[in-house]
Symmetry: C2
Subunit: 235 residues, 2 copies
């Protein structure tokens, strides 16, 4: 358990949209300059410490978010109190699509590391989306991406032995990472992600280290032996 801080504490000032590195890749790519002036105003940027909740299940907010850096876990809870991580949002991902349909947030969104996000009113997207085919398509793409992720979690991360699941998770974490390295999650989060216990996660990771499947360079930072992991992942 990590304690949460309020969003208010995380406020880090007006967003620097115009110079935002994400501008061309993110939700508003393809907007005209004049549209762009209209949207700058209500956008705030936040800087979340590890463990901070961006929003919580059932909350009604009129805000959507884009992730600038870092990562958040999207968590759902079962009646018995156990939790399951259903997705991880990283750079350029959009959070809170559900508020476009006036629904409350469907998950707890919690920062896994230090994480920067931009917050903007869903109103903005609703208005612009009506008449902008480009934004319309962009939105569909976002949804499709989330859905593909969700399906992959089911087939890759919730199927097979613990060794297989962890191998697949590692490969996923390091994907599009040239050096084949990545930050490890806490063992508890691994468990919630893969549907196994923290002890099993710990044991498996430890075992992978001993077998040379991964090398710890700094605390919790590892380099993967891709080929061997892939062999484990696939059968």
């Amino acid at each position: 358990m990590v304690k949460s801080v309020t969003l208010r504490e995380a406020w880090s000032g007006e967003a620097d949209c115009r110079n935002c590195a994400l501008r061309t890749t993110v939700l508003f790519a393809g907007l005209e300059e004049e549209d762009f002036d209209r949207i700058h105003d209500p956008i705030d940027q936040f800087d979340l410490r590890q463990g901070t909740a961006l929003y919580q299940t059932g909350e009604r907010g009129d805000y959507m978010f884009t992730v600038r850096s870092g990562a958040l876990k999207l968590v759902q809870y079962l009646p018995d109190g156990s939790q399951r991580i259903v997705r991880i949002a990283r750079g350029t991902d959009v959070l809170g699509l559900e508020v476009l349909l006036d629904e409350p947030y469907q998950h707890d969104a919690i920062a896994l590391q230090r994480t920067e996000v931009c917050r903007f009113p869903a109103r903005l997207v609703k208005d612009l989306g009506q008449n902008s085919p480009k934004l319309h398509k962009e939105l569909m793409t976002r949804w499709q991406r989330a859905l593909t992720e969700a399906d992959a979690w089911l087939t890759e991360l919730s199927t097979g032995s613990a060794r297989q699941r962890i191998a697949r998770m590692l490969l996923r974490l390091a994907r599009d990472n040239a050096n084949h390295d990545c930050e490890l999650l806490s063992r508890e989060d691994m468990g919630a992600m893969l549907g196994i216990t923290t002890e099993t996660a710990s044991r498996t990771i430890a075992s992978f280290k001993r077998e040379g499947l991964l090398t710890e360079t700094q605390p919790n930072h590892v380099i993967l032996n891709i080929a061997s992991l892939r062999r484990i992942a696939e059968d």
Copy 2:
């Protein structure tokens, strides 16, 4: 394994859209009469026998589908050949949203029972969607629904003991079914849905029968003891 027949064999004539019971609930709800005339033409209706594949992973087709009756499973495969059912589509659900983004189908879609579907070109939705805010919103709703389903499968159907998963699955199958009854899937499909073996599925169902948690009225048709199943599902 059930053999597949081609779609061609399943063709059952021009769709009767104007009198379709789904007209008001389905994708095209809210279209104007004039729009409606434009779309009737290219719509075909199919009648799928159990085991028929509506489409397959990786196929490129320009068609989307609505389910009129029956049910289809959406299946994905792992490199090692094992399969996982990631969703079930039933009455009024829309299939093939991904082709709106010019992507190939992401699953095998296979009829679980005798199933009626309507097929229409994605082109239609692309064209109408550009300028129709209503359709735009309807599409987002569809996507959101699929995503919510996907998340629920992860938290409810891939978490906990086999007994819990099967209980949750049964409650799901019978949901919005006044008599608390439902058709059972094959044990193999249950396994692929819950990430357990067919033997475990079989044993658990048999055990539920003995315990009076479900009563078989006709072969593979059961009435559920909702209260007791819920108790099992929740802890």
